[in-house]
């Protein structure tokens, strides 16, 4: 069943809220901090995946600072929920969350993608505390997540698994193998989130490999589908809660996002998929952060 925007009714929403208005404010602040941390990792001249990291920043903030059960003091805590960044190039958004939670020292941010650093160009569970698998070769993360979900099911454990996919990544056939399998195994402890920003490395997803009617596609594959504005914190939280509550099988959130979100010069431009900012752009980026802060506090 395809559900359009998770909950639209302000009044109805307040009855089942699993968060307070103050928490929503705090999560919005966290999302800004996530974007600030992303900027910190890619100063002018350093190539990095700004676009796809900032498009998923709000969802990541909701997951790490509210929805998921995590234990930064013990990254291997068996009761933790798992997050797999299948679109591994957006790992900057994950590092930005992990550093806020204290998984590793802030000094590491400046050493991302260096020989001495622990933050690799793509997620590496051996190098970085809090990273749960090796991803980056696109299309494999949902399968890995399904394996985890099945492992928890075999042992009747309550852990949940979250997977972040790119919309461009959905061209990988393996994704759909996993989609079919997850439905077959009724993996109701698995939630996929598609960072539906409409752009990939060289152009729009529509031009490169059209995947129209995405909601209907997932729906016809047996998934619970929720479409949301991926930059609306309340919609994100409600959808994640609805995914938890849905027990018949896996849920996918189609999060409509803007590539490069919040950074005006980069928004909606494929060029910033993986690029170096100029000094001027970098200054502008911090101005965007300040503007966001003012908006939230207002």
């Amino acid at each position: 069943m395809v559900v359009s925007p998770a909950v639209e009714d302000e009044i109805g929403r307040s009855e089942n809220m699993n968060y307070s208005q103050e928490q929503v404010m705090e999560l919005k602040r966290k999302a800004i901090q996530v974007r600030a941390n992303i900027l910190e990792m890619i100063p002018p001249g350093k190539v990095g995946h700004l676009g796809g990291s900032s498009s998923i920043a709000d969802v990541m903030a909701a997951l790490y600072f509210h929805t998921m059960q995590v234990n930064p003091a013990d990254p291997k805590d068996p009761t933790r929920d798992r997050l797999i960044m299948s679109k591994g190039h957006a790992v900057l958004a994950q590092y930005a969350c992990l550093v806020e939670l204290g998984y590793f020292p802030r000094e590491e941010l400046s050493k991302v993608k260096t020989l001495d650093g622990i933050l690799q160009g793509h997620p590496d569970m051996d190098k970085t505390p809090g990273i749960e698998a090796v991803t980056g070769s696109l299309g494999q993360g949902l399968s890995i997540s399904l394996g985890m979900a099945l492992g928890f099911k075999v042992d009747n454990l309550p852990n949940r698994v979250y997977t972040i996919l790119g919309d461009g990544e959905l061209a990988e056939g393996q994704v759909w193998e996993a989609v079919m399998a997850a439905h077959g195994f009724q993996a109701n402890n698995l939630t996929a989130i598609v960072d539906f920003n409409g752009l990939q490395a060289t152009s729009t997803t529509k031009e490169i490999f059209p995947i129209e009617n995405l909601a209907q596609k997932w729906d016809s594959f047996g998934w619970n589908v929720i479409e949301i504005d991926g930059h609306d914190m309340v919609q994100i939280l409600d959808a994640l809660e609805a995914a938890k509550a849905f027990t018949e099988g896996p849920t996918v959130l189609l999060a409509h996002t803007v590539k490069g979100a919040c950074f005006s010069f980069a928004e909606g431009k494929a060029k910033y998929h993986n690029a170096a900012m100029t000094e001027e752009e970098y200054k502008q980026a911090w101005t965007c952060i300040d503007k966001l802060k003012r908006e939230v506090e207002a």
């Binding site: 090796v134 070769s137 299309g139 399968s143 394996g147 099945l150 393996q174 193998e177 996993a178 079919m180």
Partner: protein, 312 residues
Amino acid sequence: MRTSDSLRKTYGETLVELGKDNKDIVMLEADLGNSTMSALFGAAYPDRYFQMGIAEQNMASVAAGLSLTGKIPFINSFAVFATGRAYDQIRSSVAIANLNVKICGSSAGLSDFGDGKTHQSIDDIALMQVLPNMTVLSPCDAIETEKMTKAMVESNGPVYLRINRNDLPLVTDPKAEYKIGQMTEMVKGKDVVVFATGVMVQQSMEAAKILEKEGISIRVVNVSTIKPLDVDALESYCEGVKGVVTAEEHSIFGGLGSAVCSALSKKRLPIEVLGVQDSFGTSAENYSILLKHYGLESEDVAKKVRAVLAAN
């Protein structure tokens, strides 16, 4: 003591036996369970058996995820699909992360004789041994298969097991201890050493009998762990011989022959590599015809031994 000559049946039965006490073992299967014999596990422990359908790529990455929850997943398919179809998944999801995933490549080599080149694997050892962290095992009989399967469960990290579809004679000692990495002297001899793996072990043992009649004495060593290759043992078995022959049911590129040549590159010994030349497989009425067609019989081993002696 195992009496069956079937490597794959032994593999399936051993896992059923191990799975009784070890609840972490889980099996994943890609619609070939009756051939790989993983179905035996499914019948015994349906809750720990995952039918993944004809989707090997997903199967390999799902196994990675299962291992990340503490399970010991075995993925099963024909060798050609288990390694080739899911290569990047094994590389990225499994090997880079050094996860405890066990891969069973069944119907390996030319042993799926009737199905032809799309189903025969002459490149699986090459694909697997090039991966860092990967262990590559190639048993020569059912006795060794049983020991290896047990050792795989005990080991930590990714392992590839290459299994022949056809029944093979029991040639190894059932009482001998086994550990991953060992190579075993099957026939004592002094003129030439033959390093063989899989079905070529018994062919090389037959070759020893042929050559004995000609006054040529060969040492036959079963190299059932292709990786990590025990280079010290390899060198010690070369002591006193006039030449080296390698024998495998695999491409001459990237398999046992390549590994041995690389390891012995500093030795001034003539080496002959016996294997499938640079070609794919083909359908045949039975396995023996194929071994003959590709020059993988005992007489072919003997020819290589004579050649290496002639090079002296």
